[in-house]
């Protein structure tokens, strides 16, 4: 190690000290720490989602000069979807002033952060995924599985299958196989599928695909023997195209495979090639670049070479649009909180208040240039999901086409189960349930 002379060591040490020093923040800035993943097996999701998120924040800064004059800032730390790296990035970035919210887009990292962000009083956003019972704001004041928690997704998929079969009654005697990713995310919905199977009388078989899911021959042979009416694909990353290809190999009709919200992207369908034609998947946000907000992002950023996606063909893809929707929700939460607390840098707890009052009706969504991109959201202090609507899209070999109306999951059926699970967690952890009074104010 002789090659390391003193001068070099000093230079490295100096740069370390400098980089560790907290960046100087001006009075009115709101900061987003991004635990992104641009490499590793799930990079397609990471680059699309964080690309869309950054694009939207950038749009707000460029077009509006920030949120009511408060500039949005962000920096990225690479996690590769690994929990340890996610925690490291959290610890590295959490002391930056003006943290608005965390958006890790990883169930594992989100789980590891729940205790930490609750202590630090900063919101944790797990859009379309996360821990289902964190929907219960009485127990999880700082966690927001916005738009669609895994149980609502399950209910939406079952309702969709029912609508194709002619109503919920016709589910009786049908057979559904759920093929799920062997991870915390994949397993989250096992009990709720069982419950719905009991309630509607369909036969159910749930089959696990070990992470990362590039080998599924055995699972699909089992499916062929079981001869189900539908297969629900609860996949992630490379598992999805492999599933579609293996299905074709065993001769299972692709239009009877319904993908869940993390099996619904271009990156899932394109690698499968022709056999993906006819594949249907659930989504909370439509794909396509024809929505005004996406057009503005193209005009303001990509036409000036300031867009975040390297591949312009991915503009308006499912993950990119999800990132944009996530940006809208974060920015609007800040805007709503600013109405109450003042147009300045907010504390994490004040942003939490904003998320708990994040109510965007279809008219407001249209005003934001996102009509048709997503339906609406209605978050309250005790409902942290916000009753998002879902729609279904079908792959035509080149792009997704919406094939259903906006469908509402059966929230009333799910709520008692969520509350029961959240209360059990509260008991295990010794958490006192919040009441309306606890939620009206925020600390600064």
């Amino acid at each position: 190690m002789r090659m390391f002379n003193k001068a070099k060591l000093l230079a490295i040490a100096a740069s370390l000290v400098l980089s560790a020093a907290i960046p100087v923040t001006h009075a009115d800035e709101q900061y987003f720490p991004l635990q992104s993943y641009r490499v590793g097996p799930y990079a397609a999701g990471g680059t699309g989602f964080f690309g869309g998120f950054i694009d939207y924040l950038n749009l707000i800064n460029t077009r509006d000069g920030g949120v009511n004059g408060v500039k949005l800032t962000w920096s990225e730390g690479e996690t590769q979807y690994e929990v340890e790296r996610g925690v490291e990035v959290y610890e590295r970035l959490k002391n930056t002033p003006g943290v608005a919210a965390w958006n890790p887009l990883s169930v594992g990292i989100a789980y590891a952060m729940i205790d930490r962000i609750t202590q630090d009083k900063v919101p944790l956003i797990t859009i379309n995924h996360g821990r289902t019972d964190s929907t219960d704001g009485r127990v999880f004041p700082y966690v927001f599985p916005l738009l669609l928690n895994p149980y609502s997704e399950t209910s939406g998929i079952v309702n969709y299958i029912a609508s194709k079969e002619g109503g919920l009654e016709s589910l009786k005697g049908k057979k559904i196989v759920v093929l799920y990713h062997g991870s915390p995310y994949g397993k989250e919905t096992i009990p709720i599928y069982e419950l719905l199977a009991q309630k509607y009388g369909f036969e159910l078989q749930q089959i696990e695909v070990p992470h990362p899911g590039n080998e599924q021959q055995a699972q699909w042979l089992t499916i062929r023997r079981a001869k189900p009416d539908y297969v629900v694909l609860r996949g992630w990353g490379v598992m999805n195209p492999v599933a579609l290809k293996s299905a074709a190999k065993v001769g299972f009709p692709v239009d009877h495979i319904v993908g869940n919200v993390w099996s619904n992207s271009e990156e899932d369908a394109i690698p499968a090639g022709d056999v993906a034609k006819g594949y249907t998947a659930i989504t909370t946000q439509a794909s396509g670049a024809e929505y005004p907000v996406v057009k503005e992002i193209v005009k303001t950023l990509y036409d000036n070479n300031r867009g975040n996606l390297e591949d312009k063909n991915r503009i308006g893809s499912v993950y990119h649009n999800l990132g944009i929707v996530n940006g809208i929700l974060n920015v609007e939460a800040i805007r709503i909180a600013q109405e109450k607390f003042g147009k300045r840098t907010l504390t994490g707890d004040e942003v939490r208040w904003g998320f708990e009052h994040l109510q965007l009706d279809p008219a407001r969504v249209e005003a934001l240039g996102a009509k048709g991109l997503f339906h609406s959201i209605n978050v309250t202090w005790d409902n942290h999901e916000g009753n998002g609507y879902v729609t279904f899209q079908q792959w035509d070999g080149k792009k997704w086409n919406v094939v259903s109306d906006w469908i509402a999951p059966d929230w009333a059926l799910l709520r008692p189960i969520i509350e029961k699970s959240a209360e059990a967690y509260a008991k295990e952890k010794g958490i006192k349930l919040r009441t309306t009074e606890d939620a009206v104010t925020a600390t600064n």
Partner: protein
């Protein structure tokens, strides 16, 4: 993997116990005062847990010469066993569940050590892979292990001993530090004992060891048991003190390799080596990532930077192993010897 180095006898006049005591003094008294929460949460806690796992694996691989690729499985056994003892036995103090989890890991380690009676070298390594896959499969398959949690993720209980809470970053650091210090001391005593010499005898020449009366079978199983005990407790620290939440997939084959690299880079058959190796593998990626994003962050996105860091780290490790095949420990000893002689000359 047969490097017959006993700990070098120090050439200076400082007594053997002085350096560890000084280090412990700094670790207990000074670091808690000056450290930031980043230092504890992102560097020291994973460093302590991985060092302890390295100490455990070093007993098995470095001293007793049995290659194992199942370390992460024993980490997982420790973590999930401690979680279940804590959950299912009312009133069991946390130290009790930690100790029992070590015992469970040791028992499982002995079971998976049985093939070592017939297999050697690469064949044994492959059979310890079975532990890796079996444990992960069992923990995922039977949701009882994670208390039927929907996602298979477990939450760590709060850490407290006799009413004293250890839940802050510093508290969890001190908690881990104490357990690591005690177990490291015991491991150090063990490798100097007759059993430790039996380990080395079995490693260096099994036939010769048998002829001079070393009970080879028993020695191998003891090595597996002790090693798994220590690694199991490292798993508890990983889950309870560092991440505070764990899913079975967090203990995958990559983790096993990481621990194996720690002892190879740090120095086989050396207790200190585990600490050197863990420090290198925990800290270097962070330094590289900081330096990389500071110098080049404006030009490349984080993905490109991360990929290039891997290349740099890999290159560093190869270079280092060529220049210093006996690990960081012998590198450190050389430096120390050189500075001491220089000091004495003056």
């Amino acid at each position: 993997m047969t490097i017959a180095t006993l700990e070098a006898i120090p050439t200076s006049y400082t007594p053997r116990w002085l350096t560890p005591v000084l280090l412990l003094g700094i670790a207990y008294l000074i670091i808690p005062l000056v450290g930031t929460s980043y230092l504890f949460e992102a560097i020291l806690l994973p460093f302590l847990a991985l060092s302890l796992a390295g100490v455990g694996l070093n007993i098995l691989t470095g001293y007793a010469g049995q290659v194992s690729l199942g370390s992460a499985a024993f980490l997982a056994v420790g973590a999930f066993a401690a979680y279940n003892f804590n959950l299912r036995i009312d009133g069991l103090p946390i130290l009790g569940s930690i100790f029992l989890s070590g015992v469970v890991a040791a028992a499982i380690g002995i079971v998976f050590g049985l093939p070592s009676l017939r297999l050697r070298g690469f064949y044994l390594a492959v059979s310890t892979l079975a532990a890796q896959f079996f444990v992960q499969w069992a923990l995922t398959k039977f949701s009882w292990f994670s208390n039927n949690s929907a996602s298979g993720v477990i939450d760590a209980p709060p850490l407290s001993i006799a009413g004293v809470e250890f839940n802050s970053a510093v508290g969890r650091y001190l908690f881990s530090l104490t357990i690591v210090a005690v177990l490291t001391f015991l491991a150090y005593r063990l490798v100097l004992s007759q059993t430790g010499r039996n380990f080395i005898a079995v490693r260096d020449n099994e036939t010769a060891a048998r002829i001079i009366g070393v009970p080879v079978l028993k020695t191998k199983l003891i090595a597996f048991g002790v090693s798994s005990f220590v690694i199991g407790i490292a798993g508890v620290l990983w889950a309870f003190a560092y991440l505070r939440t764990v899913e079975p997939a967090g203990f995958n084959l990559d983790r096993s390799f990481q621990i194996l690299f720690i002892i190879i880079i740090g120095g086989l058959a050396s207790i200190r080596g585990a600490f050197f190796g863990a420090a290198l593998l925990v800290v270097t990626p962070l330094i590289l990532s900081r330096v990389g994003s500071f110098l080049l962050g404006d030009f490349f996105d984080s993905g490109v930077l991360d990929m290039s860091q891997r290349i740099v780290l890999g290159g560093l490790i190869i270079l280092f192993l060529i220049l210093e095949p006996d690990g960081l420990v012998s590198f450190w000893d050389r430096i120390r010897k050189r500075t001491t002689t220089r000091l004495l000359r003056q």
